[in-house]
């Protein structure tokens, strides 16, 4: 793209590096920002820098957090002995939106998929197992996508957790096969958490 200012060109290139944004859209957004006041734009860029600066991953569950421990893990009204295992933090948001779950979460950070080079060691599995023992967790709910990889990861975790003598359940499969959890509607997802079943019967 040939523009008259190298500053504009740099801004367009940065914006276009975001997923789903092409050069044309990037130019439109950059020109829009140019029309705003200086303080508005400082606020805009500052909030992005601050987000990167301050957000950390909860040491307990792996969810995003402003503190060492996230708001869910540090909430005394939630039951720390029930842990719901999910793939990523969008799943935490989806389940929280149902308001049907009062335990804590554990974010794996993905699912086992050798084709994508992801093995158990690349996921937060060791921290889950040590947490189960340390916190005296008595129930683990697997809320993984109903894809082959979600399923296999569930089976892997079941075998590890079952050895510890802990009850493992899986969310009821009102979720249709091949569905990613975060795209399931709230009602279905909320119901499937309440109607969770022992893993063996799935």
């Amino acid at each position: 793209m040939d523009v008259s200012s190298k500053y504009l060109q740099h801004a367009v290139e940065e914006i276009a590096s975001l997923p789903g944004i092409g050069k044309k859209t990037a130019l439109r957004l950059a020109l829009h920002l140019l029309k705003r006041t200086k303080s508005e734009v400082e606020h805009f860029s500052g909030s992005i820098a601050q987000m990167k600066e301050h957000i950390q991953f909860c040491q307990k569950c792996g969810n995003i957090s402003d503190e060492e421990k996230c708001g869910i893990c540090s909430n005394p009204r939630r039951d720390p002995q029930v842990v719901c295992v999910v793939e990523d933090l969008r799943d935490v948001m989806a389940i929280e939106a149902t308001q049907q779950f009062n335990g804590l979460y554990h974010v794996l950070g993905g699912v086992i998929s050798p084709m994508d080079g992801i093995g158990p060691g690349d996921l937060n599995i060791a921290s889950l197992l040590s947490r189960i023992e340390d916190d005296k967790v008595n129930e683990v709910i697997l809320a993984l996508s109903v894809t082959m990889e979600g399923d296999t990861t569930g089976f892997y975790l079941y075998k590890k957790i079952h050895q510890l003598g802990i009850e493992v359940s899986s969310i009821a499969r009102g979720v249709s096969i091949g569905d990613e959890l975060q795209y399931t509607d709230e009602l279905t997802l909320g119901r499937s958490i309440i109607q969770r079943r022992p893993y063996e019967q799935v």
């Binding site: 084709m115 093995g119 158990p120 082959m148 990889e149 296999t152 892997y156």
Partner: protein, 368 residues
């Protein structure tokens, strides 16, 4: 099921053609390269949404044109059904039933039961085991929807397991728990596939033998054998037993992806010991058995397309085949051949109505 009318625009070497087939036997006669096979391929397109010969849609468009259209009207239990297939360069394939476009082409597959027999089928004998598995899978999938799902899932689990074996080798490590979860998937999806293939062949083999006998007038004993390590041991045992080999080769050596169908003639392998004529009769009998199997399972009479199959067969066998397909076990037939003098006297002998078409340079005309 009967094809009542067919119209082509810019399909292969046809600029425009309209024909109204007979509901019994139709013969397209012409020299090679005139376009008689293309008529059959157009009918095949309406059944399978693709060409029998060339999988790249745009290459089936007439030279220097930008689109083709195939339209056909079929009659099913006295009701007309219209099908439309349109290909335009650079655009998505259009496929409509009664003017309504399908959401997924897979909804259409199986709706128009059809079997095509062509000289190209000899790949079943000459090619590797994959071609024979595809033949078996194609027949089973036509009436068993979960079979196809199991196959796709099996394929995915297999790719994952192979990727894992490769990463073990590259990182010089091994983790039995990681392997076990993929073994479990292969077993979950592979065992039912093995069972279905086994059950299918139990029903299919007698049909095949019956047809071979009819075509050849009891000439030789032929057999199909389902060869699979899973006939003896279950997949769990096999995966354990061959783990060392799998690790060394970095891929999965056991499972339904290694199955094969063995062709035998008088107890010898057909590929080595069968004459050209015997091999040809063998493949035709396989396809006739497929035809009968679909007819029995679906309860609808499939269309039968016979493309140039009489070449290299003696006139006695040609007569036997035409006699067979003009019985009530078969429905509407489409035949191509180069030799009017050979086919005419044979057709005159059969009890069914027939229509001859002359095919010359991309034009089809009723032969009086």
């Amino acid at each position: 099921m009967i094809l009542k009318s067919l119209s082509l625009v810019n399909f292969k070497n046809y600029e425009e053609a309209v024909l109204e087939p007979n509901s019994n036997v139709n013969c397209f006669i012409g020299e090679n390269g005139q376009g008689k096979t293309n008529v059959l391929d157009a009918i095949y397109y309406l059944a399978f949404c693709k060409s029998f010969f060339n999988p790249i849609d745009s290459q089936n468009i007439r030279h220097d044109q930008s689109f083709f259209v195939i339209q056909g009207t079929f009659v099913r239990s006295k009701k007309d059904e219209n099908y439309f297939c349109g290909i335009k360069k650079g655009q998505k394939k259009q496929f409509k039933r009664n003017k309504k476009e399908y959401e997924k082409l897979s909804e259409h597959i199986g709706r128009i039961p059809l079997v095509m027999i062509s000289p190209a089928d000899s790949f079943l004998i000459t090619d590797g085991s994959e071609s024979r598995r595809k033949f078996v899978d194609g027949v089973i999938a036509q009436f068993n929807k979960s079979y196809l799902d199991n196959l796709l899932n099996y394929q995915r689990a297999l790719s994952q397991r192979n990727a894992l074996l490769k990463s073990f080798a590259e990182n010089r490590n091994f983790d039995a728990d990681s392997l076990a979860i993929w073994n479990e998937k292969l077993i979950t999806f592979g065992e039912p596939i093995h069972r279905e293939r086994h059950n299918f062949l139990e029903e299919f083999i007698p049909l095949f033998q019956k047809h071979y006998k009819k075509i050849t007038e009891n000439a030789e004993n032929v057999n199909l054998k389902y060869s699979s390590a899973m006939n003896e041991k279950n997949l769990q045992e096999l995966l354990e037993e061959f783990l060392g080999k799998d690790q060394a080769l970095r891929y999965t050596t056991q499972g339904i992806h290694k199955d094969d169908l063995t062709f035998e003639i008088d107890k010898y392998p057909l590929k080595k010991f069968g004459s050209q004529g015997q091999q040809k009769s063998f493949v035709i009998a396989l396809k006739f058995a497929q035809f009968e199997f679909i007819r029995l399972k679906k309860g609808t009479m499939p269309l039968l397309l016979l493309d140039d199959i009489f070449d290299k067969l003696d006139s006695k066998r040609v007569e036997a085949i035409i006699e067979m397909v003009s019985t009530d076990d078969f429905g509407q037939i489409f035949i191509t051949d180069t030799n009017m003098e050979r086919i005419k006297p044979i057709l005159k002998k059969i009890k069914k109505a027939y229509q001859l078409f002359d095919v010359i340079e991309g034009g089809v005309q009723n032969h009086e």
